[in-house]
């Protein structure tokens, strides 16, 4: 796909771009450039994704047979704990915001950088520091509390590296606070002239909403973890039932962050999907305002529903009613988004490039993931389904099927912008399909397992569950391959890929109107925005002008 406006022979990489203004390791480690920080994040996130993925592989391999035969129970518990911690704190939470968001938000709003470049770099260092804590705890023998750090298990009953891991979560949490803070300030303060709120790309809206959650939610997790650490170190008794504390209070504080955290994870992904769907159907997103506001609505309602993780944990039943009702309300904005995306295709001019395939995958899997959320939000069915593989399947459909698909859609969509080169198209489409099929095979059987009652975090299980588990493990193999292929061809494309040109998809965002890879300063002069987001007529007009001026 090359831009119709640019003849083939002109496609060479721009002489100056943000990669070659400075050289050397230090120029990367001390950079203030949001694009370079985004690339740093991309590397570290990908690395930890494969660490977490390897853990997932071990889990699935263990569950191939009903017997606890591959590893000891302790090891298994440590593996799934680290799988959760690594995937959530080191991959899902920072994935889209810290890589794509970091790279694109300043460009999309017409700014030269994020508001606080040094804090942006600090975020990355905090991320690495947090990750190091996890690695240290892993090397020292691991931690087996589950990523949820349930008290009093984490405070009194396990002998593993809870403190180190807790410090890691605390630090990684502040990394995400600073990213969110930076985004909010940037989006409020740094928009180019003419870039009003309702001209912002939906990706920016989504990241804005997620940033609000990061800034306001994460500190509550931080304090919960601090109290767990104090409880462990000094026995302060705040969560200890024998001293009069309430272990459920920890659940409240923990989920006050950790439920909104799932929206931190999914919202930026939804932003990516809005961009991709619009670009490849050559149409303005259907009901722009509704999609934008639904992001904000999800962010706001996201704070009101956390206790639906605690229905059977001894939450007051009256409270459970309230939280169940609010949970139903938060499902609505997601439904709006799905329908709006579908309607965007109507009378579009759809092409099926790789990002679009991933976006279709997202819509399908996220719809299933979202709807099964209703099963769990509804009090009666939650009793049977919670803490089983149903919930595992549900959040993997949303997080992996939703978020990861969106992340891959975004990476494939903006790869030409980030590197200036295209990846092999046929292969990438094959990878997208493999991922989708592998995903369905891995996680769909887990819904059935869940209704059968197979508990999550089980090392061994009754033999009659084996067939479905074998299916799931087989699917996981396919899924693993699906994730490995992009890494290979994307790495290949950095050197050998076809030069993409500045706007290979003919997209309307400001980021596509500058060279790829961009200059360190992004824009030679700050653009005056005079058109709405996704204005394809404006783009066509602009392209015609350019052809004329060149001719």
């Amino acid at each position: 796909m090359s831009s119709a406006a640019t003849p083939e022979q002109e496609l060479t990489l721009p002489k100056r771009n943000f990669y070659n203004t400075e050289y050397g390791l230090l120029s990367w480690l001390l950079t203030g450039d949001h694009k370079r920080i985004a690339m740093l994040y991309l590397f570290s996130i990908t690395f930890f994704f494969f660490v977490g993925g390897a853990m997932a592989g071990l889990i699935r391999l263990e569950l191939l047979t009903p017997l606890p035969d591959l590893m000891a129970s302790d090891t298994y518990n440590k593996v799934f704990t680290l799988h959760g911690i690594v995937m959530i704190f080191l991959f899902l939470v920072p994935s889209v915001p810290a890589t794509l968001g970091n790279f694109l938000i300043p460009i999309m709003i017409g700014a030269k950088d994020l508001a606080f470049p040094k804090i942006n770099l600090l975020s990355w260092y905090l991320y690495i520091a947090g990750a190091s804590c996890f690695v240290i705890s892993m090397v020292n023998g691991g931690v087996d509390t589950g990523w949820t750090f349930t008290t009093p298990l984490s405070t009194h009953y396990v002998n593993t590296n809870v403190l180190t891991t807790g410090i890691g979560v605390f630090i990684a949490g502040f990394s995400s606070v600073f990213t969110g803070l930076n985004f909010i300030v940037t989006i409020h303060r740094m928009r180019a002239p003419g870039m009003t709120w309702f001209r912002l790309p939906l990706f920016v809206w989504a990241n804005y909403a997620a940033s609000i959650l990061m800034v306001l939610g994460t500190p509550v997790l931080a304090i919960a973890i601090v109290l767990v650490a104090l409880e462990r170190a000094f026995g302060i008794g705040v969560f200890d039932p024998t001293k009069g504390g309430d272990p459920l209070l920890f659940q409240h504080l923990f989920w006050f962050y950790s439920h909104p955290a799932v929206y931190i994870m999914i919202l930026p992904g939804m932003g990516v999907i809005s961009e991709v769907i619009s670009t490849f159907s050559r149409k303005r997103v259907f009901g722009y305002a509704a999609v934008a506001f639904s992001s904000v609505a999800i962010a706001v309602f996201g704070f009101f529903v956390w206790a639906h993780h605690m229905y059977i944990m001894g939450l007051s039943n009256y409270s459970a009613l309230v939280f169940s009702l609010l949970t139903m309300l938060v499902a609505v904005p997601s439904a709006i988004k799905i329908f709006n995306w579908s309607a965007t295709l109507y009378k579009g001019s759809i092409s099926f490039d790789t990002p679009m395939l991933y976006a279709f995958g997202f819509i399908g899997l996220f719809t299933i993931g979202g709807l099964t959320g209703v099963f769990l939000g509804s009090l009666g069915t939650d009793i049977h389904l919670t803490e089983t593989y149903f919930i595992v399947a549900h959040f993997h459909f949303v997080m992996v099927g939703g978020m990861l698909m969106a992340f891959l859609a975004g990476i494939h969509f903006w790869w030409p912008k980030m590197t200036g080169r295209m990846y092999p198209e046929g292969l990438s489409k094959v990878a997208a399909v493999i991922t989708f099929v592998g995903f369905i095979f891995t996680f769909f059987p887990q819904f059935i397992l869940g209704y059968l009652g197979m508990p999550r975090r089980y090392h061994a299980y009754p033999p009659e569950f084996q067939v479905l588990n074998v299916l799931s493990t087989a699917g996981a193999t396919v899924l693993g391959i699906g994730y490995l292929i992009p890494i290979l061809y994307l790495a290949w494309s950095v050197k050998y890929g076809k030069v993409a040109g500045s706007n290979p998809w003919n997209a309307t965002g400001l980021e596509w109107q500058i060279q790829s890879p961009p200059l360190t300063e992004n824009f030679t002069e700050i653009p005056e925005v005079d058109h709405e987001a996704y204005d394809y007529e404006w783009l066509e007009h602009k392209n015609r002008q350019e052809v004329k001026s060149i001719g």
């Binding site: 304090i223 026995g235 504080l253 300063e521």
Partner: protein, 252 residues
């Protein structure tokens, strides 16, 4: 599209000409000094929001346990000295005032005033911590620090205790044990607050040295203003901690 990468110096917009920027203070990615300033203070406020939520978790815990174990909380609160707490409140409010004056000096470009205000603020901050240290060490002596050495003796047998606080009502051992939760929250909340003070004093020292050298009184006082926000926030936390921890049911 392939124009040279050398950043063109930002041209101040016409309407901001009055603020005509000293280029050294305007970072390359901002258009105007005003924009940079607003961004900085907005960022600071967002950071303070995270601080609100950080303390919020502890306030929630406090609220719950205070309602559950009110008698224990009331009793334990009486072991704190209102004098020390009250003086500390005054000290902190005064330091907030000197900080505000420091901001004013920076805004009106009074170097000596700024240096004096910052020095006073540091001094007051340190005296706050000194008094706090006094209070803490008393808790260690009386075995009121939660953990292995915690003892409920004071509350079970208030008359036997050396402390001359007749107001402590003797509690049954099971209820007296709940004072540990009070002290846990006391140490967690005041400890976190003190930690913020320590960090604040550290930053203040740096600011003081820079202000001595003439920084911040040259029209670029954003750093001072933002630090002021932080310091006032720490003050606000204490404004709530004082009545909540020291003044539970003193009238009985």
């Amino acid at each position: 599209m392939d124009s040279p990468v050398i950043p063109t110096p930002p041209t101040p917009a016409v309407e901001q000409a009055a603020h005509a920027a000293h280029p050294a203070h305007l970072r390359h990615h901002f258009e105007t000094v005003e924009q940079q300033k607003e961004a900085a203070s907005f960022g600071m406020w967002l950071f303070l929001l995270t601080e609100i939520m950080f303390f919020g978790g502890m306030f929630a815990a406090y609220l719950i346990y205070r309602n559950w174990y009110f008698a224990a909380f009331a009793d334990a609160s009486k072991t704190l000295s209102i004098w020390l707490g009250g003086i500390n409140t005054l000290v902190l409010i005064t330091s907030s005032f000197t900080m505000a004056m420091g901001v004013w000096c920076a805004e009106t470009r009074r170097r000596r005033g700024l240096v004096l205000s910052l020095a006073l603020t540091i001094l007051l901050g340190i005296s706050f911590l000194g008094i706090k240290y006094n209070e803490y060490s008393e808790k260690f002596e009386k075995h009121h620090v939660p953990g292995a050495s915690f003892s409920v003796e004071t509350f079970v047998n208030p008359t036997a205790d050396e402390m001359k606080n007749e107001k402590i009502v003797a509690l049954a051992p099971d209820l007296a044990a709940k004072t540990e939760i009070y002290f846990s929250l006391y140490f967690a909340m005041t400890g976190m607050h003190a930690l913020h003070m320590v960090i604040g004093i550290g930053i203040l020292t740096v600011l003081l040295i820079k202000a001595w050298g003439g920084a911040y009184t040259n029209g670029h006082m954003t750093t001072i203003e933002n630090f002021g926000l932080y310091w006032h926030f720490v003050d606000i936390v204490w404004i709530f901690l004082f009545p909540l921890l020291y003044l539970i049911s003193r009238h009985v």
